[in-house]
């Protein structure tokens, strides 16, 4: 009998946030006391230390948003419009087998098993701020592969200028799609240079565990300098295009949501201010940073653009 080994990416080691918050002291203390660390603990320690080395990718020293909050406060309308609906309804999502279709302006199109799509790439942990267009935010330790690595392997043609990401369309697995108020499936897109930016991540996990349905399992996009809705969830199609994809929120309400959707405290949503945000867990609002605090890394992508027009 063939026992298929789970790919490294999906290996779920339960690591709770207290360990994450204080992993160095906690684990060093354990190690000093002669306590043997489990594989998962050693991995968490290694990831934590690697992250502390990679300060540029972490960006700030804000505490992580608790796992409980990250997995119970979600916008994933395909699983319900209330914040706690997706966590309740995620059971209908079948995560395996999962195929991702790659098509369009690309040398290696095809239907890829998720594992085949990701296996050649090294999974990394990235702690990113997550800023929702609704003016709340979190800090999330993602696990995933840099999208640029996947794109390089798929070899887009010289004509490719954008990448489009399509969420699963299946009203049985995603019962929210029975509602007609949205033009399902959910579509998001990036300019190719945005997609190739080192910060852009194809996430498959968070807090060292596989993604849960409510967070967009088994694979989702994470673009930390843009509003959260740019991060398409439960992706089944990656298409390389010559023209700008029509992303769902910009189709529904073009005066409220744009294609770029860069976090920008200077450009308000027509109905509310984007100058400040509430970090979940805090009572008072804090200032929102341009490009969600990643301006040093990404502002160059938009040189010469009027970001009030291309919101």
């Amino acid at each position: 009998m063939l026992i298929r080994r789970a790919p490294d990416l999906r290996a779920a080691d339960v690591t709770d946030e207290s360990l994450y918050q204080n992993r160095r002291g906690f684990l060093a203390g354990l190690a000093a006391a002669g306590v043997a660390l489990t594989l998962g603990e050693r991995r968490a320690l290694a990831q934590g230390l690697a992250r502390e080395g990679g300060a540029a990718l972490r960006g700030d020293d804000d505490p992580l948003t608790p796992f409980e909050t990250v997995t119970t406060y979600n916008n994933f309308y395909e699983l319900g419009t209330g914040k706690d609906d997706p966590a309740r309804n995620a059971g209908t999502l079948r995560l395996a087998p999962w195929k991702v279709r790659v098509e369009g302006e690309v040398a290696k199109p095809g239907d890829y098993d998720l594992e085949d799509l990701l296996r050649p790439h090294r999974a990394e942990e990235r702690v990113y701020r997550h800023r929702c267009v609704e003016a709340w935010s979190m800090v999330i330790p993602w696990l995933g592969v840099p999208l640029k690595d996947v794109i390089a392997r798929l070899e887009p043609t010289g004509r490719a200028r954008f990448v489009e990401f399509t969420t699963l369309l299946d009203p049985v697995q995603l019962p929210g799609q029975k509602s007609r108020s949205f033009p399902w499936p959910y579509v998001e897109g990036l300019r190719l240079d945005e997609a190739r930016h080192p910060l852009t991540l194809l996430a498959t996990g968070l807090y060292g565990k596989s993604l849960l349905g409510q967070n967009g399992a088994p694979i989702r996009l994470v673009v930390p300098w843009k509003y959260g809705f740019k991060g398409g969830k439960s992706i089944v199609k990656i298409r390389f295009t010559t023209s700008q994809p029509a992303n769902t929120w910009a189709v529904i309400a073009p005066d409220e949501y744009g294609f770029y959707a860069n976090v920008n405290p200077a450009v308000d949503h027509p109905r509310w201010s984007q100058a400040r945000e509430r970090r979940l867990g805090e009572y008072f609002k804090r200032k929102t940073l341009p490009f969600n605090g990643y301006a040093d890394q990404v502002a160059g992508l938009y040189a010469g653009m009027d970001l009030a027009r291309d919101y």
Binding site: Y73, S181, A253, R271, R278, Y283, F284
Partner: protein
């Protein structure tokens, strides 16, 4: 128990307890070991706002109820319901001033002039303030006929409150539809001729 006693000693306490319900629920979640969820401020805002609207509609239901049933004594519930509604509006506004705007007048001003949903909600709040202030029996006596005129402000305040509620929804306007329907029905019922013997509300004090 006659009807007046029934309203005063049975209905009044029950309605009072029901109106207190959302506040108790929030207090229990906040201090009683429960939880207000991942975004406590939002939970407080949504709950107080919804309670304010429901109680405002309940206040407006008293007059048609009196006319339809002939129970003049129901007037005793109206001030209590109106004041409860205002209490939730006040709480709603204070939460916004303190947690959303950190009590910064400049921030409050710019948010109000730049975002119609805030301006509309603010206007509803301002319109309700004189009504709460003149709700005492002494003020009712002192203002006489003018009291009734002043308290017609409850209609534009409710319209603005409902509009505010519809405007804060991210996408789905259907959420507030039932409240708009309820308000419309309550307004239409005012066209129904009062039953004989129902006294005008002001006289009931």
């Amino acid at each position: 128990m006659n009807r007046a006693a029934l309203v005063r000693h049975a209905l009044w306490p029950v309605v009072f307890a029901a109106a207190l319900g959302p506040a108790l629920w929030l207090a229990r979640a906040a201090f009683g070991g429960g939880t207000l969820g991942a975004d406590p401020v939002k939970t407080l805002q949504v709950t107080t706002g919804l309670a304010a609207i429901v109680l405002l509609l309940a206040t407006l239901a008293i007059t048609p109820l009196r006319r339809l049933t002939g129970w003049s004594e129901l007037i005793r519930l109206r001030r209590m319901l109106g004041l409860w509604s205002f209490a939730y509006v006040l709480l709603h506004a204070v939460i916004y001033f303190v947690f959303d705007q950190s009590l910064d007048p400049a921030l409050i001003w710019s948010d109000t002039v730049e975002h119609p949903r805030i301006a509309v909600g603010f206007a509803a709040f301002l319109l309700l303030i004189p009504l709460a202030l003149t709700s005492t029996t002494a003020m009712i006596r002192r203002l006489g006929r003018r009291w009734g005129l002043l308290h017609r402000l409850v209609y534009p305040a409710t319209v603005l409150g409902l509009l505010h509620y519809l405007m804060v929804q991210k996408l789905d306007w259907r959420v507030g539809t039932w409240y708009v329907v309820a308000f419309t029905v309550l307004m239409l019922l005012r066209l129904v001729r009062p039953r004989a013997g129902v006294r005008p509300p002001v006289a009931a004090g």
